[in-house]
Amino acid sequence: MKRSNAPIFWALFGAGGMLSALIGGVLVIITGLAAPTGMGLPGDTLSYAKVLAFTQSWPGKLALFVVISLFLWHAAHRIFHTLHDLGIHAGLVARLLCYGVAAAGTLASIVALLQVA
């Protein structure tokens, strides 16, 4: 019997799900509502200078990388399985599309983060 390689995707899915459950909502509120409107946060929280400084620091790079990539892997897995539930068993094509986007996003985030010196 061929061993399933699902644990890789399942672990990324689980980690992303856990992370998004813990901080996803808060991030939406901070970046989407509080910071732009200045409600409860100083108006310059997401100013170019501050975001640049955050991105230049290693902890900042790591945080951004983890959030971007794990959220993507979580979404990819969820979408792939939902397609299957809906009766779309595109198999390899669906797999490549879903996980390919996550892999590409992961790579792109690494490249982008490393470029910000």
Binding site: M1, K2, R3, S4, A6, P7, I8, W10, A11, H81, H84, D85, G87, H89
Partner: protein
């Protein structure tokens, strides 16, 4: 004082391979009393209206697991589902979903039986044991580890409930996983390594998407979904940590 019998309409999905190209619905008006189950309704039909109606049953007390069928679209044991609770609506009775129909309400259960064989649902001793060593002793705590999962009566309601099994019947499925878990958790058993390859395989636990309907329909509170999901974690741990294990060590 006994109430006069009422009459309930039972629609049965019939399939008689020698005459039906595909399953057809046949309705019967069945007089019933408050103590009658859906199974007894079917027996009434067989006795009074049509002796060719086929269905499986044995114990009539929710323990043999033979009488599972779709009742108004939900997998249920027909012997523990009562007509009085369905009245005055029409009752629709069909063969268990996701299985091929052999005849009327009788399904072909070869797939499940094959899976049952594959998981080795019996105690595989850790080491050979002589009769003179006497019986195994087990503490209540040791028994509590697996007891819930040993309550499975192989009724297959969970397979009829599982959308993933419906989409891909090569999936090991809920009850077989509950039984894998039952034996793996038994301190007398040493067979995990023999069961693991199937659990870890492409037909194994990871086909489950945590829907949970299997546990909802289970008449014995086995909670097969729990067994499946615990084993996803176990399987993933093994996947990543197997290289750290000394050769030949047991999981």
């Amino acid at each position: 004082m006994k109430a006069a019998p009422r009459t309930i309409r039972i629609e049965v999905l019939r399939y008689r391979p020698e005459q039906d190209k595909e399953p057809v619905v046949q309705g019967f008006d069945v007089p019933f009393t408050d103590d009658m189950s859906v199974l007894q309704g079917l027996q009434y039909i067989k006795d009074e209206f049509d002796g060719t109606l086929s269905f499986r049953w044995s114990c009539r007390m929710a323990i043999c697991g033979s009488c599972g069928m779709m009742i108004n679209g939900v997998p249920k044991l027909s012997c523990s589902t009562f007509l009085r609770d369905l009245y005055p609506n029409t009752v629709r009775v069909e063969a268990l979903a996701h299985f091929p129909i052999e005849r009327d309400l009788v399904i072909v259960l070869d797939d499940f039986i094959t899976k049952l064989h594959k998981i080795k649902p019996y105690i595989i001793p850790k080491e050979p044991r002589a009769l003179s060593q006497g019986e195994y002793l087990q503490t209540p705590e040791q028994m509590a580890q697996y007891e819930q999962f040993s309550a499975c009566i192989n009724c297959m309601l969970c397979y009829a409930a599982c959308p993933q099994y419906g989409l891909n019947s090569s999936f090991i499925g809920p009850a077989a996983m509950a039984l894998v878990h039952r034996y793996n958790l038994d301190n007398r058993d040493g067979g995990r390594a023999e069961r693991d390859p199937y659990v870890h395989s492409e037909e194994g636990v990871f086909n489950c998407t945590a829907v949970g309907y299997c546990s909802e329909v289970c008449p014995k509170d086995v909670d097969p979904a729990n067994a499946v999901n615990i084993n996803k974690t176990e399987s993933a741990k093994d996947y990543f940590l197997r290289f750290l294990k000394p050769k030949g060590a047991q999981a």
